[in-house]
């Protein structure tokens, strides 16, 4: 019987420091030639045997076939151990799991990409895919906020994103430390919506960040006239298996790991016990 709990070894081929606490790792399967088939928004379970396993979004573009990338923030036990790894070290990988962003329904449409903090990770692959297939999609506005300027991730790619036709990138931070030069917005990410030129009638929004932020973004977008079913959010819950077995990520009748993590806004609103739910 095939055992889906077994992880496959993958080697770290390069590490890029994004912020003090966040690094992007490029991984390549060691044992066999295998390309990871996935949609942006999906995640892998990454293991450090002996320490633990966690869910991490795949941040590279699916067109990048040789290897794949994960952007991981140091928050606890497993991520601390991952943080100590060096190029050449081996991690265990299984996946991909979950649903990705509904790219097909975005074809020909304008797109809002709205993220907070490390929530940009599951969207980065999407952005790069859009750039590679620029003609398939309409205008794209990336709105990204974080707490402080030095907590923004993927800064090395912003120039590339900005240079692509019909893509704009808006940034905002909650606070700017003294002596820091900052020419972009301040305050919450919803403020950036005022800068938008997209016609909400023919647009989709992909949102990922803290639940409270997604709640405000979704509300602002609907007020601007975006249909609820055109808003997609990515949720986070604790996961042990990624395969709808361990029960941890259950949110009402939904499993975040297999029914999500990407949901349409109306779906999430019908689920209890999250900040986007209708009754809260």
């Amino acid at each position: 019987m095939e055992n889906p709990y077994i992880v496959e070894p993958a080697a770290i081929t390069s590490i890029r420091q994004e912020t003090d606490e966040t690094k992007t790792y490029t991984l390549k399967f060691v044992e066999r030639e295998r390309t990871l088939q996935f949609t942006p928004g999906q995640f892998n379970m990454i293991s450090l045997l002996g320490v633990g396993e966690g869910a991490f979004s795949i941040t590279s573009s699916p067109l990048q076939k040789d290897d794949f990338e994960h952007t991981i923030r140091l928050v606890g036990n497993l991520t601390r151990a991952i943080d100590r790894l060096a190029q050449g070290d081996i991690v265990g990988v299984r996946g991909p799991y979950g649903t990705g962003w509904p790219i097909d329904s975005a074809k020909g449409k304008d797109i809002f990409i709205i993220a907070g903090g490390v929530g940009l990770a599951p969207l980065r692959g999407l952005i790069n895919l859009i750039i590679e297939r620029r003609n398939d999609f309409g205008v794209v506005e990336i709105m990204y906020g974080s707490r402080k300027p030095d907590e923004l991730v993927f800064t090395s790619e912003y120039d590339k994103w900005r240079a692509a036709p019909n893509i704009s990138l808006f940034l905002t931070v909650d606070e700017v430390p003294e002596g820091f030069e900052w020419t972009h917005g301040r305050g919450v990410v919803t403020n950036l919506l005022g800068l938008s030129k997209i016609d909400p009638a023919n647009a989709l929004a992909f949102v990922c960040g803290p639940e409270i932020m997604m709640r405000f973004v979704a509300r602002s977008l609907t007020i601007r006239g975006l249909a609820e079913e055109n808003i997609f959010v990515s949720l986070e819950r604790r996961m042990e298996c990624g395969m709808a077995k361990c029960g941890r990520c259950m949110l009402g009748r939904a499993y975040i790991c297999t029914d999500g993590p990407v949901f349409s806004y109306p779906e999430v609103r019908s689920l209890p016990q999250n900040l986007l739910a209708a009754s809260f």
Partner: protein, 368 residues
């Protein structure tokens, strides 16, 4: 030429069957332990204690052990993984109809798109000797779901106690192989009638019933998700998890790594877990999506009674009454002392008009 075995046979005493089964299978059954029944390995001279009285842990713990090594690993540059095999033939002897139905629900949980090999290796190797309930325990309400006292299918062998022995029905090829050599007489028409009347009596003796048709539950919980009665209920919940650990359809678990002293090898193992525990839904930085007791209490209740049906097509409660029995909290509801976890009582609570529950405030939302 082997004569084909009729479906219904007459069995004088259980030992004949236990002997036959335990020769081929490692046999588990409900045995008396500290005044209760528990699923344990049945030894040759062991006494089975059949009947409706639900065991402490459900038979599920034979199919998915409470603690289980997923695999062991060694690291040397990369890593090697070694999976434990499981090819032992096991028999579950004396599974009650509700528990068989619970196993069918677990089949769906551990099957589907990702098949859990640990459960299925055991499940596929397991001979199910079910046992109809000819008596009824105070806590159970299986008739409401039609998960008991009678089992209609999904068994290898099925026994029903009669006045002068047992009726033995064969439900599969595997079951047939076991009884073939026993030379049992066929059952008579009277035997079958006796079975029917005994099970009717058991049905009638099952007094506890859901106050609404099962199909209405989904709507009830949807509409009354914010019913104020949840608050006093959750207030007396210990969040101890007894209700979920004893439930035959609960399946949640935790995965943990252990290292050996060498630090170069270890095991990744699985242990049962429960949504009632605070840490169950905790993520990094101690954020918790179900920090409030009331959210956890609601989650278990509604998952059992409504969501699981939406997820798997089979309801998550089979009416065995274990949670009723093992919940350590006994509130007074409608003038009687009841078990807090009791699904029937909770549904009855939900049916009370919300305006009638006074003096309680709904704590706001989820704290993250």
């Amino acid at each position: 030429m082997v004569k084909s075995t009729p479906r219904a046979l007459k069995l004088e005493n259980l030992n004949i069957l236990i002997d036959a089964v335990s020769q081929k299978y490692r046999t588990y059954g409900p045995v008396a332990k500290d005044g209760e029944n528990a699923w344990e390995e049945v030894k040759a001279d062991g006494e089975l204690s059949l009947g409706c009285a639900a065991t402490m842990l459900p038979a599920k713990h034979i199919l998915q052990p409470v603690r289980l090594d997923l695999y062991s690993f060694k690291s040397s540059g990369g890593f090697q993984i070694e999976e434990p095999g499981f090819d032992e033939k096991i028999a579950l002897f004396g599974v009650s109809p509700c528990d068989v139905n619970a196993i069918l629900a677990l089949d769906r949980v551990f099957g589907g798109r990702f098949v859990d090999p640990y459960y299925w290796q055991r499940r596929e190797n397991a001979l199910i000797v079910a046992s109809n309930c000819t008596e009824s325990a105070e806590e159970s309400f299986c008739t409401s779901w039609d998960t008991g006292p009678e089992l209609y299918s999904d068994y290898d062998l099925l026994i029903t106690e009669l006045a002068d022995g047992y009726l033995l029905e064969v439900g599969s090829q595997r079951g047939k192989v076991v009884v073939n050599g026993l030379n049992l007489p066929g059952a008579t028409q009277e035997d079958l009638k006796e079975k029917a009347s005994r099970l009717d009596a058991a049905r009638a003796a099952t007094k506890k019933r859901l106050p609404v048709p099962p199909d209405d539950l989904h709507q009830l919980f949807e509409e009354r998700y914010d019913h104020p009665i949840w608050v006093p209920n959750a207030e007396v919940c210990f969040s101890c998890g007894n209700c979920t650990f004893s439930c035959p359809t609960c399946f949640c678990f935790d995965i943990r790594d252990e290292v050996k002293p060498s630090r170069k090898e270890g095991v990744r193992n699985l242990e049962w877990d429960s949504c009632q525990l605070l840490e169950f839904a905790e993520v990094a930085h101690h954020a918790n999506f179900r920090r409030l007791r009331i959210d956890r209490f609601k989650h278990r209740t509604i998952h059992k009674l409504s969501w699981m049906k939406q997820q798997y097509g089979l309801t998550g409660c089979v009416g065995c009454g274990r949670c009723v029995r093992w919940c350590p909290s006994w509130p007074v509801r409608r003038g009687r002392i009841t078990s807090l976890a009791d699904p029937v009582e909770i549904i009855a609570d939900m049916l009370e008009p919300p305006e009638k529950v006074e003096g309680v405030e709904r704590p706001g939302g989820v704290i993250v």
